[in-house]
């Protein structure tokens, strides 16, 4: 079981499992009623093609389902992250 403090998450880099840099984490969406973590809010890297992702202005949403692990980087699954 890996527990992390959410303040440690801010400004962490988000990578896909094929080694591409996606961007920087800005915030996390949670459901207060169930405690479920829903989405990561990511500011995409200028070199990243955000086509096919859920966007809101310049922010990108990645479902927390896609998160593989969080250590020094946040690693997300490439296919699950496009839902």
């Amino acid at each position: 079981m890996s527990l992390i403090l959410s303040r440690n998450l801010s400004r962490k880099k988000v990578m896909s499992n094929d080694g591409m840099l996606i961007g920087t984490l800005r915030n996390v969406m949670v459901d207060f009623d169930t405690g479920q973590v829903i989405d990561l809010i990511v500011v995409p890297d200028p070199s990243f093609n955000a086509e096919g992702y859920r966007m809101d202005g310049d922010r990108m949403f990645i479902p927390f389902e896609a998160v593989k692990d969080i250590k020094d980087y946040i690693v997300v699954d490439r296919y699950l992250s496009k839902k």
């Binding site: 890996s2 527990l3 403090l5 969406m29 405690g35």
Partner: protein, 86 residues
């Protein structure tokens, strides 16, 4: 209610017997379960939580009753000294 996690920081925590516990300093996320595990509470009310050598307590998410302008948790009589310290 779906909101950004940073909205929680700094909220005051009270029990359902209207006793002030402290303020939210951080949120502990369980990455595998994809859930909020607990809230880290600082700025504790010394009359209520009597622990020496610790700055805060962790309140498990399951004892939280509601979250709005403040956070209301279940009042566990006499058990707050036994809460898990950080």
């Amino acid at each position: 209610m779906i909101t950004q996690i940073t909205e929680l920081f700094g909220l005051s925590v009270y029990t359902d017997k209207a006793a002030y516990v402290g303020d939210v300093e951080d949120v502990v996320i369980d990455v595998d379960a994809k859930k909020i595990d607990s809230l880290a509470i600082g700025n504790l009310n010394p009359d209520f939580v009597d622990i020496k050598g610790f700055k805060g307590i962790k309140v498990p998410f399951r004892i939280i009753k509601s979250i709005g302008d403040i956070i209301v948790i279940r009042h566990l009589s006499g058990s707050f000294a036994a809460q898990k310290e950080i």
